[in-house]
């Protein structure tokens, strides 16, 4: 059953990706990107990563679609068709894709308890969450407590990104005043 769901979701993902590449209307592509993110979120749910799925659905399908549409309203929603030769990009994509698939053969199976990622420090986190922190969601315990320093870094990155956009796009008081005088 899970294999059928996986297959259906991945097929839809591939179809959508081709559709996005072939679409000339950027508005349509932005909407398809939202659906793409929602499908990714569904795949994460199948993989039992509900927190990641939640983030993907909220950020990928929600906010980033709005921000892409906001950008389109500034820049225009039509793609300029340039007749470049697609051979070199196609070659690079094929080679890198083949290398990634070749590398994935060596990877441990999803959820394999003997995988290195599940043996290193994860058992200590899972046991520590039950004894030291005593909250049911291990993801929150790792994110907020064990890796609190990393999360502080992430929040600082979001803050810095917000400041950056504000500097680039937000109209300063000086600009507004000069517009009012002229």
């Amino acid at each position: 059953m899970e294999a059928i769901v996986d297959l259906a979701l991945l097929t839809l993902l591939a179809v959508l990706a081709v559709g996005i590449v072939r679409l000339r209307s950027l508005f349509g592509a932005a909407m398809l990107f939202g659906i793409y993110s929602l499908l990714c979120a569904a795949i994460f749910v199948v993989l039992d990563a509900v927190d990641v799925a939640f983030t993907e659905a909220a950020v990928g399908a929600g906010i980033s679609t709005i921000l892409i549409l906001g950008t389109l309203s500034i820049t225009g929603a039509k793609l300029e068709v340039r007749h470049a030769r697609p051979l070199v990009p196609l070659l690079i994509t094929t080679v890198i894709g083949a290398a990634l698939i070749y590398a994935s053969i060596d990877m441990p199976l999803v959820g394999d308890p003997a995988a290195p990622a599940n043996l290193h420090i994860v058992p200590a986190y899972i046991e520590g969450t039950a004894t030291d922190i005593r909250i049911p969601n291990v993801v929150t315990a790792v994110l907020a407590s064990y890796r609190g320093y990393d999360t502080l870094g992430e929040v600082t990155v979001i803050f810095t990104a917000g400041i950056g956009v504000l500097v680039l796009l937000g109209h300063s008081r000086r600009k507004r005043k000069s517009a009012r005088e002229s």
Binding site: I63, I66, G70, I133
Partner: protein
């Protein structure tokens, strides 16, 4: 978009539910999926939906840009402040166990506070991003009427 009556009515019904759901995700993050980051995005999108339907100027009367800018920094300050407070109480930076007499209660307090910090920063960065994009468009499309824009006009 202010003349679409269906959109206006549906948005008015949905926005309180969106904000309530965001608060649920924020404070239920220890028990179910979610947490400050997801809650912040949902809370911010509630305001963005309001701005899309009722116009940027109306939203700025509810949530002035200055408040948004201050709150953006406040979240990071709460997060780092919890860390420094732990240091003042004799622990390491971001060690929550020392925040309360009982280490487990301290962990809970620390996690709730830093998740709140994450939620506040993410919410207002999202709103600030939308303000920047939408404001840039308004400024670019009608540079001569920026002076009248504050008088309560809606987004085109």
């Amino acid at each position: 978009m202010e003349h679409h009556i269906v959109l206006r009515v549906v948005a008015k019904m949905l926005i309180p539910i969106i904000l309530l759901f965001a608060l649920y995700v924020q404070f239920h993050g220890e028990y179910g999926p979610g947490g400050g980051f997801q809650a912040g995005v949902i809370f911010g999108s509630g305001f963005i939906l309001y701005a899309l339907i009722f116009g940027l100027q109306t939203t700025k009367r509810v949530l002035p840009a200055k408040v948004v800018h201050i709150m953006t920094g406040l979240g990071v300050l709460i997060f780092a402040g919890v860390g420094v407070f732990g240091m003042l109480r004799g622990g390491n930076f971001l060690e929550y166990g020392v925040l309360s007499a009982d280490p487990v209660a301290g962990q809970h307090l620390g996690i709730i506070l830093i998740e709140l910090g994450v939620g506040i920063t993410v919410t207002f960065v999202m709103v600030s991003l939308f303000y920047s994009f939408a404001g840039y468009r308004q400024q670019k499309l009608q540079p001569s009427v920026t002076g009248q824009g504050d008088a309560g006009g809606n987004a085109p």
